[in-house]
């Protein structure tokens, strides 16, 4: 990520479990959604809960997939495979842009 850090640039952390179908689906859908709705770009960190359990504990994650939006504030936590796209957009604060 070499983009200049903007205050409204999305910083996301996605917790998945290996190559499970739901996890694979979630990664694909999220990337697709963000690519379409984030003209300024975004940072996405993908965490496998079995690879980095300490991070799972420190972030208080129980569900998979879980998406945490750290920036811009407020911090939002989403759980699911992002089948409900409008809910994701609302939670990430991107719904207004789609309307544009």
């Amino acid at each position: 990520m070499t983009h200049e850090v903007a205050p409204d640039r999305l910083r996301l952390m996605l917790f998945i479990s290996g190559a499970s179908p739901a996890s694979t689906r979630a990664v694909r859908r999220l990337r697709d959604l963000c690519d379409r709705n984030c003209p300024d770009g975004y940072d996405l960190e993908i965490v496998d809960v079995y690879q980095q359990p300490a991070l799972v504990v420190s972030r208080g994650v129980v569900a998979v997939p879980t998406l945490i939006k750290d920036l811009p504030p407020p911090v939002r936590v989403l759980a699911g495979d992002f089948a409900d796209e409008s809910a994701v957009l609302t939670a990430l604060g991107l719904s207004g842009r789609t309307a544009d």
């Binding site: 809960v49 359990p53 300490a54 569900a63 089948a83």
Partner: protein, 590 residues
């Protein structure tokens, strides 16, 4: 570490049912060894029932006593609160964590911040558990209270259920002995029916308010493949955490002592086989009000201090000052033992505090002071109506505890009637020596009588003794047993006087009889003397008559002789008949 999916391939084959000790007093006894090893146990109950404490004790004891590290996964309270709350119970969670014997994972669930956007599962939760277990090589896991998940993800109860089942299968497959707590539902053991898939072992903790006093009960509802006590067992949360009171399964393995201790009253020692009570035994002194129970107990204390022992005196009715003053009035100087640091008083007015709280205080003091003798005065105040129906059971537990600790226990019990009340009967079956103090009424006074109702392991007197309190102390005297029954006090004295009078009367009569006999003897002798005198008179008269007669005969004879001479001179032929016709015998005798 395998993924939780590995659970589906099944766990290791089990031949017998191994158990893991919880270290919770009493619980391991009623389950005959603790919880099923390598299997999950559901501990359910309402909020505040002690579920979390049960889970924590299971882990802490596992880590400290049984060499089994544990993971505590809690949904309940923040880490700082948890550490603070448990340190007051003497559980050093932070220290155990530093030593790698315990790992606490606090799961913070804030439902309002989680947006649901499509399907998900709880794989991350499983990853956390798996990671924690692997990190410290855990053998035990406790999950407190997993049902919070149903609140957080309220829309997906089916998903949570299946995920929890997967988690439990995984725990089982990995041989982890697990405690899972669940909050009690309205008609179900847990709000979300977890008992349906946690069927190996189910423990129910109950908390009820009966007569304004909280009582706690524990019941093992289910224990697959094992025998277990099925009753409700009262339990308390004390210094050492949970204590279950399995009355019926108290193990009788304490050391017994042959050493005998004086009761401080020579007369009572004499009644107890001449030597007093056994060390580490329990003595119950029961009686109605004002019978001198406290004085007897104080004598026990005094004797113990004289031997150099330490006495902890619990008084629920009188203050130390009152006891010291009252005992001084019967010649017992207890103040010197207080000054010497041998006698410790703990006085507490009867309150509506539960017996649980009372026993916790007592336990703490017993730990602190480490006495050789404990006096509970009166134990009946612990088991009155206001302390709840479990009080007798708790007291039994307390007595058992004292006994196993080698502490001689003296209990006094106030009874309404002479034979005691149900609660006292409960205790009396457990105590080794039971001394009963009764009052005997009569002659306008009440007197105290004492007898030994039972005393295990020694020959003891079956007699009632009168128990006299004086300025010089306690004295036991044999009572008067007469046709009118047992007499004490002035009635005894009166009866003794009557007896004395009778004896005196008998003596007098004998004396009279003796005197009468003597009189008769004198009369008889006088009579005999009179007869003798008569006889002697007669005799002497008769003798004189005889003598006179003889004299006359001699005189007559000599007169005839002289006459004959004259006749011979005058005429030689003379007829004798002519001489004296009236006396032929004299002629013949010639």
């Amino acid at each position: 570490m395998t993924s939780p999916d590995a659970a589906d391939r099944g766990g290791p084959a089990r031949v017998m049912l191994p158990k893991s000790l919880t270290g919770i007093d009493g619980f391991d006894e009623i389950t005959e060894g603790g919880l099923p090893t390598g299997r999950p146990t559901l501990v359910c109950g309402l909020a505040g029932a002690g579920k979390s404490l049960f889970a924590l004790q299971f882990l802490v004891n596992g880590a400290t006593r049984y060499g089994e590290p544990g993971v505590f996964l809690t949904f309940e309270e923040p880490r700082d609160d948890l550490l603070a709350n448990t340190s007051s119970l003497g559980l050093d969670l932070a220290g155990l964590e530093r030593d790698g014997k315990l790992l606490i994972d606090v799961v913070t669930l804030q439902s309002e911040t989680i947006v649901e956007a499509g399907d998900f599962d709880l794989e991350a939760l499983m990853a956390r558990v798996a990671w924690a277990v692997e990190k410290i090589g855990a053998k035990r896991v406790a999950i407190d209270n997993v049902e919070s998940l149903f609140v957080t993800f309220a829309n997906r109860p089916a998903m949570i259920r299946s995920e929890l089942q997967r988690l439990f299968r995984w725990l089982k497959a990995n041989g982890l002995t697990t405690v899972i707590t669940g909050e009690r539902g309205v008609d179900t053991l847990t709000r979300h029916g977890m008992e349906e898939y946690l069927a190996d072992c189910v423990v129910l903790l109950d908390q009820r308010v009966i007569q304004e006093v909280t009582t706690r009960r524990l019941r093992v509802l289910k224990y697959r493949g094992s025998i277990h006590g099925t009753n409700e067992y009262p339990f308390l949360i004390g210094l050492d955490g949970l204590q279950v009171l399995p009355i019926t399964s108290l193990t009788m393995d304490q050391q017994v002592s042959d050493e005998r201790l004086s009761t401080g009253i020579p007369g009572l020692d004499e009644m107890l086989g001449g030597l007093g009570v056994f060390q580490a035994s329990s003595v119950l002194i029961s009686g109605t009000s004002g019978t001198g129970k406290t004085t007897l107990a104080a004598n026990f204390a005094n004797a113990a201090c004289e031997r150099g022992g330490t006495v902890l005196f619990f008084s629920f009715e009188e203050s130390p000052a009152e006891i010291l003053r009252n005992m001084a009035s019967v010649g017992l100087d207890l103040a010197r033992w207080v000054a010497a640091g041998l006698l410790h008083f703990h006085c507490e007015r009867p309150t509506t505090l539960g017996v649980e709280a009372r026993l916790v205080t007592m336990q703490r003091l017993i730990h602190q002071i480490a006495p050789t003798m404990v006096i509970i005065e009166p134990v009946s105040s612990l088991s009155s109506d206001t302390t709840g129906p479990d009080a007798p059971a708790m007291i039994v537990r307390q007595i058992h505890y004292l006994k196993s600790a080698g502490i001689t226990t003296v209990l006094t019990s106030l009874t309404g009637s002479d034979m005691g009340e149900p609660s006292t009967q409960h205790i009396s079956s457990l105590v080794d020596t039971w001394v009963l103090v009764r009052t005997f009424e009569g002659s306008g006074e009440r007197n105290r009588g004492l007898y030994v109702l039972k005393s295990r392991g020694m020959a003891h007197s079956n007699q009632i003794r009168e128990f006299i309190l004086s300025d010089n102390g306690v004295r036991l005297v044999p009572v008067y047993i007469g046709p009118a029954g047992v007499l004490t006090g002035s009635a005894r004295a009166a009866e003794e006087t009557i007896e004395r009078d009778i004896i005196a009367g008998l003596d007098e009569k004998a004396a009279q009889l003796a005197a009468a006999l003597e009189g008769r003897r004198e009369a008889v002798e006088a009579h005999v003397a009179a007869i003798r005198t008569d006889f002697e008179t007669e005799e002497s008269l008769t003798r004189r008559l005889v003598e006179t007669t003889e004299e006359r005969r001699v005189a007559l004879q000599s007169e005839r002789t002289a006459e004959g001479h004259k006749r011979t001179v005058a005429s030689t032929v003379n007829s004798p008949s002519r001489e004296r016709p009236g006396d032929p015998r004299e002629e013949a005798s010639r």
